[in-house]
Symmetry: D5
Subunit: 188 residues, 10 copies
């Protein structure tokens, strides 16, 4: 029932990505690497391009960390391409953009605004086993922050790679971590 710790559900969607022919992406393609699903309401609108541009600027860093990024809205892949062709900000995007006109992904992740047919402004971080580890949603009009996203993914990767260690509040790469034990109970 909880979102964190659940495995992503099956889906297939057609993707637009700069420099490639349209191609299909499914849940099995996603597994094996870390992934970010970055939902936004609609092509050709307002806050979305600033968030997508902010994320585009972190894409190289994320790729270096082994993280793929998927932009998702309920528009088609045709529409994604047309937007990419005509918008300065969007043309900077190098990651795949998935057409979710079937609402499968938006429903799978529980972020479809059902009365509008549009997705929430929602981010999900999925580990190489296809398990959701981090999520965030902001209301209409409130932009996300790609750097904070990078910080949290680094912490999640650190915890996965260092069993027995946990990252305290506002942890940054290189800072100290904690090793829980019976003796620490009630002592922090």
């Amino acid at each position: 029932m909880g979102i964190i710790g659940s495995t992503i559900k099956p889906f297939t969607a057609t993707a637009f990505q700069e420099g490639k022919d349209f191609f299909d992406v499914s849940d099995s393609d996603v597994k094996g690497d870390w992934a970010v699903f970055f939902f936004y309401p609609a092509d050709f609108t307002f806050v979305c391009p600033t968030e997508l541009e902010d994320l585009a600027e972190q894409y190289e860093t994320l790729k270096g960390m082994g993280v793929e990024v998927y932009g998702v809205s309920t528009d088609t892949h045709f529409s994604h391409k047309a937007w990419h062709d005509t918008s300065d900000k969007i043309s900077k995007i190098k990651f795949p953009m998935l057409g979710d006109q079937l609402h499968t992904l938006s429903n799978n992740f529980g972020v479809l605004r059902e009365e509008m047919g549009l997705a929430d402004r929602a981010t999900f971080v999925v580990d190489p086993d296809g398990v959701i580890q981090i999520m965030e949603i902001t209301c209409e009009g409130v932009g996300r922050n790609a750097k904070e996203l990078v910080r949290k993914i680094k912490a999640a990767q650190y915890v996965r790679n260092n069993p027995g260690q946990v990252c305290p509040a506002k942890w940054e790469e290189g800072s100290e971590t904690l090793a829980p034990s019976l003796d620490l109970v009630g002592k922090i």
Copy 2:
């Protein structure tokens, strides 16, 4: 069905707050002001106190913004008091801590780890109408960041107070905002 935009469900919980006798808090007490529900797994454990301390340090700022904060775990108010009495970090907390041994709040917000009887590491921002506007969950071992939380609440308050304006990605108080219009469609 979506979380963002939904109204908080009815609840009553007993609170411990420094300097007061135990008292009850219900959903109707929450409405009228902005509120943060800050869930964590268990008293006397490890990441939780660093996050609670981090949040405690922003409490004055948040109160200044008209935001109340509620710490929540599935421990009792007796346990919260005992922890507050004996932990250096926790003793800094001035905000109320709710006893959720009935699991009502954890279930209401969908963050109960059912096989463990403990809550996720989850944050919810609720506006004065009792509507959830922002949420975030991180997996076990990944600490949150109270400053980023403050940034997002400021943006949400700005949007609520300035109809027709939206805040772009990583917006900070005082930065520029956007005013959506037909002419902007496809132009950002």
Copy 3:
């Protein structure tokens, strides 16, 4: 159960129309005049613009006959505007284009291709009482013919305005009609 003779179901959709701000259209706006609902699969694709252009060329005639035209796909009104801004053929369209990203209209008229989230290439003629009188669907890759549509609407209007008269096969405006009677039974 039959489509012909049934009344259109309730809907609300946001429309883009050249020279206007976005506006909502509902089933009650449609009633009172003759209307054509002209479904097509997706903005920015291939057969659709030729059909929409063909229909755009008959729009003045149809308006003269008291018929409003609605283009419909499962794209948003944002996408419709962006397409209108950037395509030569589409920029000729003067009639409203409805955003059906909620799939309400496509489902109401039974023309949603459920496995794709796109509408069929389907035309419906609705009389001033909101009753469907004529329909046509062609498979993917087969373009419709706006002049034949005009012919059929003229016949339907003639029959509505001349009770007791019917229009024979391939009837054109001004040709002879028939007046059914007992004596004609078995005599044609």
Copy 4:
């Protein structure tokens, strides 16, 4: 759920055809060639004979294209023969006329006017796999146009025989077609 793209349902009906004894036709007889099911309300009535005559005049052309035609009403095969024996127009018909007094075909294709026990004025084009590709219905009193039907069947046959090609609006045999590709997205 959609009609276009669905396979015809099982049926058996007794046919009258000039120069033959009565014989049975079933869905398996239909498959293997293109077919037109041409529904009309009732033998011995008014618009029907003009439409049937119009279609009879295209029958040789359609046979040349590999298309069989089935006239269908809820009358019996006895009644079809009696009408053929006594009507000038109907006596021109060379294609089989199916007796649908059981309402099986009218229900299968969704065109039974349930309160009357009569079929709509409906046309269905079925490909050699038994899949419906084109359909059309007009209200009572509005005659169809056999030539437009021939045009659409030709386009459907062209698309089936030339994968990767599509026929634009009002396409006629010999005219140009389109080949969809990524580069054409948003360019027509």
Copy 5:
């Protein structure tokens, strides 16, 4: 559950009757007089016309007894008229012929051959209260006998008009009847 003694169910059907325009007949039109419903399989077939002619010859007698006759098949009223126009035997019929292409009457009286869409060769005598008093069905190929029908209707009318009297086997008008009483028990 029993047929005899049950009241006829609601129906409306369109009738053809020589010398009149088409008109509707319903169950309420039937009540008030004695009526015969004379079902047969199909217009333009074989045994049916001999039975209809046999009945047509008794029609004057039956009208004299206050009995209306309704011929019924699953053909339309259009077909009935066409048959009447073209058959010597059928042209003798003066009583109304009901079009039951909706199968309402055939189902109401339980005589629809469901796998064929045709009615049984069945006769029902209905009294002025709409109650079925006499019925008869013969298999395909066995013709009925209108004189025997007249004999039975006379007996039924006698019984209705002479309470306390019953008609013995093969009773003919004017023969002796019986008056049941306690003393007759076991004495006949």
Copy 6:
């Protein structure tokens, strides 16, 4: 659902027949020969004995045609014997009389007057396959006619023995029959 053409349902009943000990009759005993089930309301009553006597007089003829006759009421076989012992008319009966105090036969043939526990005045002719071919019911007080019954059974036997032949209205043994064919359609 239709009675004509249906196979008789399973039953077992105890029979009284002059000159024999009581014996059981079941549906399997009936098959193999033609049979008449002759229902009547009650032993020791009024119309029944005249009908039973009328039928008794045709019993030799019917036996000569290979037809067995079963009298049936809801009385017991004890009662049938007692009536046969004490009534002049009934003592003429040579055919078996079935005791239907269980109401099985009356229910099987749909002729139980449920509010009275008595059978209708109903006749059923069953062919050697156990299939009902002819039926007749008259209301209380109207006697049947055994000679007309013989006429109809002869016709049914003729049709069964002469495939492709049918007997017209009021056909008597030796009269002409009809052979249906395409050419006869609409010609009688």
Copy 7:
């Protein structure tokens, strides 16, 4: 659920009684006086007449005690009369005999042998309130004893008329009775 102490269920049955015309008896006719319902399997059979004769001999006594007697079998009232007319033993019966061919009474009292359509050999004594006070059933072939029945009815009447008194085993009219009290507990 228990039989003793339950009220008789509604019924209406037609009765034969010597010297009267047939008449109806219902549950409301029964109430107000004591009554015996004396069921037996069938008219014209073997043990039944000896039991009915035995009861007939006690009828005057029972009438003197204010008790009506009803003979009941699943035969009709016609059959009861015919039996009374022709049997020496049965002709002695002065009490009413009810026709239960509908099986209502046999079912109401739970004594229908369902596989035979005949009643058990069962006796029920009903008090003036319609409540069953005594019952007895014997298997096929075992005759009852009317004198023992009279003894039990006398005891039941005594108990009803003398509250606080009970009749010990094999009590006869005039013998001692008992008055239960606390002191008698465990003392008899």
Copy 8:
């Protein structure tokens, strides 16, 4: 559904019998011999001991006939023993007394007074096949008669041992019996 002719249902109960340790009795112990189940309301009460004493006096006779007797109430076997130890009348009982505090037997035989938790004053005679052949119930305050019970069991044993013979009303051992036959129908 009928009681007479039904087989006793499974049960196990603990029995007290003079001179033995407590022991269990089940339905399978009962079969093989004739048995009487003699229900009574309660130990230590009033009519019951007179009936039990009356039956105790017939126990030797019944044993001689091969009949076992079981006294049954909803008291425990402890209570039965205590009563036997302290009551003059009850101490005469030699047959087993079953403890039915579970209400199994009272429910099995349908004689539980549900609002009181006590059994009716009911007697059942069961043959060696476990089939109930005779039953009797009297209301509160009316004692049974053990001699009449012996008479009926003798008749039932006679009928079982002499197939084709039946015992008339008030038959006593040694009296005449009847042999039913066709010739006797209606002759007694």
Copy 9:
């Protein structure tokens, strides 16, 4: 769902109490005073009398504390009286003994051993509001201790009469109690 804190369910039972006639006790009689329901398996058995005697010795003390005592088994009140009359230990009992042969009380309190029809060895203390405050059950063969019961009832009465006070472990009348407060949290 919990037993402690629930209100006793409705019941009516007949009681035996030394020196009184039998009388009924219901749940409404119980309310208003403290009560003990003391269940035991069966009259005339083994551990039960020692426990009942032990309780009988505390009865005066309990009455002095305002507590009524009810002995309960699934025996009848007749059996209770008989036991009281004949047993030395039981004859000491002055409190009422309820007959629960209907199993109502045993079921209400959840202590019926369903496979035996006997109650557990269970004690329930009910306060004047009819609410269960204390309960205890021991297995077969383990006797209870009436003095410990008195101790616990005294504590429960103290708590009821002194709001804000609680009785620590093994508290005896007159010992110290505790007054819970925020300051005591975690301090005991």
Copy 10:
């Protein structure tokens, strides 16, 4: 349905025990030895520590009798450790304390106060087969008595080890026991 005699249900819980790392306890760990489950409402509260201390003082005795003890509340094992670290009374406890924040044990034993999320003050004694033999619950504010608990466990162990013996009321180790037999019925 009854608690006594039922087997404990499956569970797994994390335990804190002095001198050990946290470890899991399940139902299968419990079986094989006698066990006490000692429920109490909450860590850091008032009556609980006095009861836990009282039990801690009997722990050595109980261990000597082969009895393990489990303290249980709906707090976590983290909270149990923190309480043990900081309370004088609780630090005396040597037995394991189970964390039941999932409410599994409280529900399994039927002692969850559902409206509070806390357990009753309840004790259960479980034998080596996992079967509950003794139970006790007191209301809020009434402390239990560990010595009486020891007495009852000794009796239960005696009964288990000495088949055929039972312990009377307030039995102490070494006192006399009883051996039930037929002769003792009604004699104690």
